[in-house]
Subunit: 263 residues, 2 copies
């Protein structure tokens, strides 16, 4: 039987609030088995950019990572948050290395093409050094990855944290029984946005297509669900979408993403 | 025979200048054997603090690390520089993890007593998790440590990079044949500060005491030499003090610190 591995991506509702982050880290440290945490650092990076007088640019509602903003993101995701998270987890007895995808070239990305839209220093994951991950996990290091990768030439790139989490989960699915958690501000994927308890308990590819056709899935939810479905199709045992209270076992509501095979 | 391990601490003359840093990293990547890099981030942290409107405080000429400055140091040392360094080393084929002492609790420090002088969030190293270092080095990861540690409660602390380098070298001296390099702006310890070629080739405890008594050692050099002498006394094979050109084998001048036993 394979060892269990939990990959947990946390959202801005945790990372932007010190108390919420502390509470989450306590729960994370308590969970059994091998663990990987994945985080960005949203609002804090925006605040620091503002203080430094950097004007954020947006194209079609999406942030462009300029060279200056990449430096801020590297400082905030890769430094401030990564090192705070690893210091706290280690103090809780959870032996953790705070890493970026650029460390040991674990996640190599390619800068996204500037056409049709130039998002700046944003990268899409190309390769994963699975053996490096196995070496670290098998030496009983837990890992905390921030939303940064590097390209082949040593250029750092801002990279979507949801995708990093799914990529790591998929890469390790042959070696571990992997559960992937997306912990964000809602109890799960909601049937009706206005009703926070209208959690859809199970989604598979079929349900996903139906919900999409009915226009029931909020735009922000679409890439997360695509990542989740890809993960279960590629061998991740279970993907769970819920909030920190679910992770702390304070309520039972969550959305579980299943592959068609399980449905 | 023990494997070789090179521990290299770099100074502001490298870390503050992108071209100097790139050149150094190319040389570092080319050196054979297992390697640990140790860096701070001096002027860049000061510049970012200034831009953020943080006023640096000094007591008796030494910087006080306030809570705000600790955040900047964590961003700059632990993020901006650490991740740039690991991205570049990996692109050069030198598989490296960019870490702080707080990662996996590798270097645990204690906040320095606020009496007689309160230096703020500054830590002195208490314990080293040698096994974690061995696990990483034996999996062929090179390591780049920034000048940050954590205490037992998860508080990050600014920690002298020279001391971190010496502590790591000493901790690993039983397991590897360790050479410790202090690479800074001069060719070595100078007999006469005005003459950049007046490098003292060899210093042992006896020479050190004589030079000190004669007032020939510059104040800034004293803690570096104390660290160096402690290292060779505790089993580090060799400590070398010189500049980046020596490290690149462009000239032969350096100061070698030897233990009394070798002298």
């Amino acid at each position: 039987m394979k060892d269990k591995l939990m990959v947990v991506k946390i959202g801005g509702n945790i990372i932007d609030h010190p108390t919420a982050l502390d509470n989450f880290l306590s729960e994370f440290a308590r969970k059994p088995g091998k663990k990987i945490l994945v985080h960005g650092g949203g609002k804090i990076a925006t605040e620091i950019s503002k203080k430094l007088g950097i004007v954020s640019q947006f194209v079609e509602g999406r942030r462009v990572t300029s060279a200056e903003e990449l430096e801020v993101v590297t400082m905030v995701y890769g430094g401030l948050l990564s090192k705070k998270i690893s210091a706290k987890l280690n103090a809780l007895g959870c032996k953790t290395l705070g890493l970026s995808g650029a460390d040991a070239g674990i996640l190599t990305a390619e800068k996204r093409s500037p056409t049709p839209v130039d998002y700046g220093f944003v990268g899409d994951i190309q390769t994963i050094q699975k053996q490096h991950l196995l070496d670290l996990l098998n030496s009983d290091f837990n890992l905390a990855f921030c939303a940064l990768t590097g390209d082949n030439a040593g250029q750092l790139l801002n990279t979507n944290a949801d995708t990093i989490a799914a990529s790591l989960a998929i890469a390790l699915a042959n070696h571990f029984e992997v559960d992937l958690y997306y912990i964000f501000e809602k109890k799960g994927v909601l049937e009706r946005l206005a009703d926070e308890n209208s959690v859809i308990p199970v989604i598979d590819k079929g349900t996903f297509e139906n919900l999409k056709a009915e226009g029931k899935i909020h735009t922000g939810m679409l890439p997360k669900l695509s990542n989740a479905l890809e993960a279960v199709e590629k061998g991740v045992k279970k993907v769970v979408i819920s909030d920190p209270a679910f992770f702390a076992e304070d309520h039972p509501y969550c959305t579980i993403i299943k592959s068609k095979a399980d449905a």
